[in-house]
Symmetry: C2
Subunit: 495 residues, 2 copies
């Protein structure tokens, strides 16, 4: 079924000005805002940044030269918000198969820096272009290794940060194309795949001390039992979700109350609140939301890496009375031993540790599991090396019996990750205990196959592909900086 040589690769910088509404605001971003306010930065940077801005704007052959003595235009300043502009480096692959099918892939970003990821996609493009799709998926492990171990590019990773985000965008597009050619939604492609073929997509380098290919095979073999029933269960009831849409740090108490009331009416039973900027504020907000949802419903907290290790333990001890199921990202995502220490202190208080959205590869997840540093593992569809690397993490989580509760939100993350977690339930975990997938009600209208939420659950996508395709009109409008939306915003900024 798989066919065609990849003959075109298009990558675009798409940004949504979400910062205008305070959506997505968390402790880390609040800290940045304070810092800039304190230093009177905003004013001065507005001026200074105009020499810098996005390199996509000002093409100077050879070196880049920011010279303030020359006249500068003001319209690169729009990305000076301290709040996130949910964005994506958006990749489109075309083949010569003449079947009209394209592969769409993205990686999520927060605005500034999207152009850097776009640049990295370009640097990787030669690994993809002119390849036969059959050769790629026929040796997907080899192809993955080729992308992530390029002899020269490896230095600026390896398998982390910008190059790994770019790898994710590219491979997400390949998976979308593959699923479309097979005429299946991605989760179904994975569910129907022979275990050996699934494993041939995974690079086991650096994780064999914890999971060998044979162990992974055994896990998948066991997962065959009851698969049909679980698929039926998913199609009928969907995968349970929780909502982060009620309690961003930037929202007022009134907004929070209103959103919470609406969410309860819509059947939501699991809620996440952002914490970490100010303890008294957190106590007030957590009390408010706990009172609104009652003692039985589930509350989670998210600190977005705001604390050092001792601070995390101290702060959360003071929020324990509100019975959070977990504290998410209490400290640096790189700090495996730190998470282990926090976990050791907080689990006795009934609080689990969740992390993952900024864990940069399978090696970090491997260690978090080895060190008993988390009780909830949050995969991300766009930070790890696409489906390939996420498969290895799902299998390791199964081995350690740690529930996977994916990170979603942003732009497109819900659309993508639902496929992975539905597959996880059907073929690997076979359990819904303590499991749920994040949901945020933003930006779905820009996707051609948006998520369908029913009774606070993700309903399995039915369209072929990875649900990665954006509406062309949305992409055009939001392309940075020349799309209509940005042209207007940048012009307004200038006045």
């Amino acid at each position: 079924m798989v066919r065609g040589r990849i003959c075109r690769l298009l990558v675009r910088d798409v940004r949504f000005p979400t910062s205008l509404g305070g959506h997505g605001s968390d402790a880390m971003r609040e800290a940045q805002r304070e810092r800039e306010h304190k230093q009177g930065e905003l004013e001065r940077e507005k001026q200074a940044s105009c020499g810098a801005g996005s390199p996509m704007r000002r093409w100077i052959p050879g070196p880049w030269d920011h010279d303030l003595s020359r006249r500068q235009t003001l319209n690169d300043c729009a990305t000076q918000h301290t709040d996130p502009d949910y964005s994506a480096a958006y990749v489109v692959l075309e083949t010569d198969a003449e079947d009209g099918l394209k592969g769409y892939g993205l990686t999520f970003t927060l605005g500034k820096g999207t152009e850097v990821v776009v640049c990295a996609v370009n640097a990787l493009a030669h690994h993809v272009l002119n390849k036969d799709l059959r050769d790629i998926v026929g040796d997907f492990r080899g192809f993955y290794r080729q992308l992530t171990s390029d002899g020269q590019l490896r230095w600026i990773g390896p398998e982390k940060g910008v190059v790994h985000l770019a790898t994710a965008a590219l491979l997400n597009a390949v998976w979308d194309l593959w699923a479309k050619q097979e005429g299946k939604p991605l989760w179904k492609l994975l569910v129907d795949m022979d275990p050996r073929e699934l494993l041939s997509c995974i690079d086991f380098r650096y994780i064999t001390d914890v999971l060998t290919e044979e162990e992974a095979y055994e896990i998948l073999q066991k997962g065959q039992v009851g698969k049909k029933e679980r698929e039926g269960q998913m199609l009928m009831h969907g995968y349970p979700a929780y909502t982060t849409s009620c309690a961003w740090l930037g929202y007022s108490d009134d907004t929070l109350k209103q959103l919470c009331t609406e969410a309860l009416k819509d059947g939501w039973t699991r809620f996440k609140v952002k914490v970490g900027a100010d303890l008294q504020d957190d106590i007030r907000r957590c009390r408010l939301i706990r009172n609104m949802i009652g003692p039985e419903k589930t509350l989670m907290m998210d600190a977005n890496q705001r604390w050092d290790v001792p601070e995390a333990v101290e702060w959360m001890s003071k929020l324990a009375e509100f019975k959070p199921l977990w504290i998410e990202e209490p400290t640096s995502p790189d700090d495996i031993l730190g998470h282990a220490a926090i976990s050791e202190a907080l689990v006795p208080l009934g609080i689990g540790i969740a992390t993952g959205e900024q864990c940069h590869n399978r090696v970090i997840f491997k260690q978090l599991l080895q060190a008993k540093a988390l009780q909830f593992l949050q995969i991300d569809s766009c930070r790890l090396g696409s489906v390939n690397e996420n498969l290895s993490v799902l299998l390791m989580a199964k081995k350690f019996e740690i529930p996977v509760c994916p990170h979603a939100g942003g732009v497109g993350l819900c659309e993508l990750v639902q496929h992975l977690i539905i597959f996880d339930f059907i073929s690997i975990s076979a359990s819904l205990e303590n499991r749920m997938c994040e949901y945020v009600n933003h930006l779905h209208e820009h996707f051609r196959y948006p998520v369908v939420i029913k009774k606070a659950s993700y309903m399995p996508p039915k369209d072929a592909g990875y649900s990665t395709e954006m509406k062309e009109e949305s992409v055009k409008k939001h392309q940075y900086p020349h799309g209509e939306v940005w042209k207007k915003l940048l012009a307004a900024q200038e006045n």
Copy 2:
């Protein structure tokens, strides 16, 4: 003394075609070469890559579009070597102080991908431009935090990979400028600085569970004792070095013998050999070099991340007979617990673990120390966030009494890191036991203030600054892709 507003920031992509001589070849790069050979990649990619190439070449407003149906030029193919082209994203800062002083900074790369780092420097530039140098160094901790915690850019790091390399290049330039304005070589600026001022340059976020500012202060206070004598000792004898120039994987046995003979004549007593591609080959090469240098001199081995954890232990057990002081980078640089396991297995065989050149920030180093995962810590002047972050690592290493043996080589790394290790000896470690700094005899001729090696030791630089400035002629010639050297190579490739 410090003066001037930063009014210009120039960043250039400078590449040296070192791959032509097999210099810098190691197990990871050999693996890449094998892989490509096996897949008959080289031929096919030569064609395919031409649609990708460097984004610095082909400016398309808005999105990037690689369309193979359009005619492509062939001259973007030169970076298809599997061997490294030692390169740098090279930053120059100018102020309005009218003193003629500029700040030069770089981060090291391996060729492809330098343009991505350049792009990231551009994305960070607005944090630097228009700033008063007094304000920067007066609150260097705050400035560091601002660069590394930009509310939007943070997502594509944080503090790792491309954005952190870009941060290093920028801050290295700031330190060079500061030292020049003070009229001192960087090591001397640091040695003379008040401990409180030194500490005000460090961001302690995420490491306070291991090192508080007060503990760091005590370490620096203790370091005051005998400082003058140690400074005299350095000026007289220099800091001990070891050489990696004899035994790259790409060298023949004859070349190895010849280089080793010359190095012995020049007084070198410590040698590093690359291993990890083929065990029998390693045994032959290690025997050869051990026989040449004799039992008393020091031999180190470097696997450049080639192995998984069990493989590392097995492989090194078979090389133990050659008495290596350390095995460097046995596995993934992210694998703290893996290094701890390897360390536990190999230390009883008399082999220490060394790592650091790809450890992406202080949080990783913190854990390597906590987990007893290394016996030798290898800082890098260009991967961590410049002097600021390296200071925190030097202080943590002192607390754990682990010797620091910096990574150098590449292009410029020797020039920069010598300042850090000389400062470390004078003000922090006060010891030379088991300590030495890597040296590679490449590309120094391109620097305006090249390293001076005497009797296998780094002699302390005497010129003001961080020794980061390249000769303008060299930069011009090697600028990618429009410099004279690359124009010729790319033209040759085309024929």
